[in-house]
Symmetry: C2
Subunit: 442 residues, 2 copies
């Protein structure tokens, strides 16, 4: 028989079992925190009608879309597409099931999305996003904007891979500032440029603002000093007020930011874990108020590991209903890739199985019964069922990091006990069933 | 702005939040049982190289494959495909990572697969499979064939949607029987025909066996009586032996079946939950020994809800290594569709959120602190953050089946207590924080 050489496509993460166990732990921490804050689970299809999926897309996004064709049904190339994020499917979902949903609608979705990017290090063509959004019907109170970062704080604290800072800003501040400088027409482009401050540096930004946008040196200095404002959150908020900029959008932005920061504190986010950063604006025009980016202090080069913000209209390309919302997305696959590469999570022994039963007798009855009893006590239990040397059986437990082994031989059966071995310490004890159960229950 | 009408494609399951919570519960029961028996998690890509995915496929399967194209990268139509099951990806995975895996390799995978079937009731184009397989290196002991149905028994017992029977057979029995009747050349076709006995009835099977396969009336009678053998498992096994069929394949099959049944009993599967059924053969030539199908007693029309068996070679289209295995697959989406349609799971109130805090004061500080405290105690807690009437806030809890509401107004704050409302009984109590925590911890 001619053999095909198996391979996995580049840009598609595929993990070994130990890595997968770790990935699932990270996912579980994210999921349980989302649920702790009252978010409902959602699982929309990976394939959607292209019309629906591309209602708002354009430019680079559209180029990266994977189209799907079924040979048999002879569907046209452009009829079906794979989702490229979880936001458009949410917009579709909320519009479609609007009458059956309860608002504010709080949902989380953790799922794979697809982008046909050229494969390169750290770029994935299939990757998980872990999103939460709170969608209001016509309106949504500002206090939700403070709850989102408090969830992020809880997640990254529990994940415990080092110091992190949630950067927070409000797009209305810069927008109002530009209006006051009579630069409102260029405002979106200037914002996009300033968003790159950390990435490309001050000098390059100055050149772009001068050459491409024709700004005066005075305006450039003012804008960049403004964006780079230093101090504590309280000092920055005070500075923003002291500037006495007479523009309503600006004032609203400052007030919103102050209120969000105040409520974040009340929700238990410590001062050291957030930072008012006037340079972040989240490129997309989609966002209209609060915006967030999250950085690991020791790994700023990773970029933002968790971003989002407030938007006025979730689904204006589907519906006339006003559906304001606030949300955030964790790029789980990219984050996990970095966790592995930088060893951000202590490489503890990770096994799901708690105990391996090693039969040393012909008749497996005692072993099978023991396994059933342990499983009924919710102890993940495996029996080594193959005929091989004792050494190989123990080696199996070692390779899989299974913490305990129970040896069942003639002596054990006639003596009415089990030999219980701690694989970490190599300590062996002769124990009864109830003593074994006590060890796992303590 | 021109609106696009949102829709979800037919053949793609998309659930409302309450249904999704139930779906996730079912999935969690399957997952935790798979883990209880020592299976490792796996998550392979949904898109694979077409060469790899279609190495073994052909006929109907190939026609149903979804191809994937990235407009920008101008990939050829047939280069990328979406997986149509979880077995081929497993074969790829085991071959590719063979040196890094520990054998016997026990893995579970719960994931979406894709088949471009014509949309019709109960048929899905995107659906979840929940698979387990145990893969041996060169060999795999028969006792694994008994463990698989004991896992299935534990899952369906815990899911508790009615009586179920795991049908079990061994393909060697029929194969040996046909050899003894000198019908071995037609054996695969006859087996496929007999597999349809329950579906199309005895008369039609007789006609097919006579007209298409040219069998004598005597042989047809013998085969059909054999397939329809009645009695308990013990009686059937005795009957199979009493026939004194002198064929080694047959004898091996009977001995294997006897051993598997004996070990299933030792693993705690009650007699009423399994049945030797000589008609089931699982169509595919892939299976070589034990085969399983599982039926709900009150819903036989659903067909088998969980099927699988033993195979000699997991990956002979990729490798010369002998990788025997045994596994089973639950068609989760189709099963859940039937659960919903037939109301197989009692419609209990399903909410993930345990308590809704309803602020009746301007200053949310007390509410935000309370929420943080409850969440730290692992109680899923939501705050109603919008400004609206009290009635609407309670109605939100009702609609989402949130079991408890904590009301925080001026009286509560000045009195140092909370009004704790049980939404099921409408009972209201004035409680302190520690009394509330006690209620959730008991």
């Amino acid at each position: 028989m001619e053999k095909i050489t198996p391979k996995t496509l580049s840009g598609f993460m595929e993990l070994l079992p130990k890595e997968q166990i770790l990935f699932n732990k990270v996912t579980e921490i994210i999921k349980s925190n989302y649920e702790k804050f009252g978010f409902l689970p959602l699982d929309t299809p990976i394939i959607e009608s292209s019309d629906v999926l591309l209602a708002k897309a354009g430019g680079d996004t559209e180029k990266q879309i994977y189209s799907v064709i079924n040979g048999d049904l002879k569907e046209e190339k452009s009829k079906l597409s794979m989702r490229f994020d979880l936001t458009v499917p949410l917009a579709k979902y909320v519009t479609l099931y609007y009458p059956q949903l309860t608002f504010p609608f709080r949902r989380y979705q953790i799922g794979k999305v697809y982008r046909g990017e050229r494969a390169q290090k750290g770029r994935f063509r299939e990757f998980y996003q872990a999103d939460i959004d709170i969608i209001g019907n016509e309106e949504l109170s500002l206090i939700n904007d403070a709850e989102i970062p408090s969830i992020i704080y809880n997640i990254f604290k529990e994940l415990a891979f080092g110091e992190f800072v949630i950067n927070i800003n409000n797009r209305k501040i810069m927008k109002g500032l530009f209006e006051s400088l009579l630069l409102q027409e260029k405002s979106a482009d200037i914002l996009r440029t300033i968003d790159k401050l950390e990435k490309i540096g001050k000098e390059k930004i100055e050149i772009i603002l001068k050459d491409d946008f024709n700004l005066s040196t005075k305006d450039i200095d003012f804008i960049l000093n403004f964006a780079n404002m230093s101090g504590t959150s309280a000092e920055k908020l005070q500075n923003l007020k002291n500037l006495n900029i007479e523009n309503e959008t600006y004032k609203t932005g400052v007030n919103e930011l102050e209120s969000v920061v105040e409520n974040m504190r009340k929700l238990g986010v410590p001062e050291k874990n957030f930072n008012i950063n006037l340079t972040i604006t989240r490129g997309l025009d989609y966002y209209t108020g609060t915006v967030y980016e999250t950085f690991l202090t020791a790994h700023k080069n990773l970029g933002s590991i968790c971003s989002g913000g407030r938007y006025d209209n979730l689904a204006d390309y589907y519906t006339n209903k006003k559906l304001p919302g606030v949300g955030i997305s964790i790029g789980l696959t990219r984050l996990f890739d970095q966790i592995l590469e930088n060893n951000l999570l202590a490489e503890e022994k990770n096994s799901i199985t708690k105990v391996l039963i090693v039969p040393m007798i012909e008749n497996y009855e005692v072993c099978l019964n023991l396994a059933s009893t342990l499983r009924k006590a919710n102890i993940n239990t495996e029996i080594y069922l193959e005929q091989t040397k004792f050494k190989n059986k123990l080696s199996y437990a070692n390779k899989l990091d299974i913490p305990y082994v129970i040896i069942v031989g003639e002596d054990e059966v006639s003596g009415g006990y089990y030999t219980f071995k701690n694989m970490q310490t190599s300590e062996q004890q002769q124990l009864t069933l109830s003593q074994i159960l006590d060890i796992f229950n303590k």
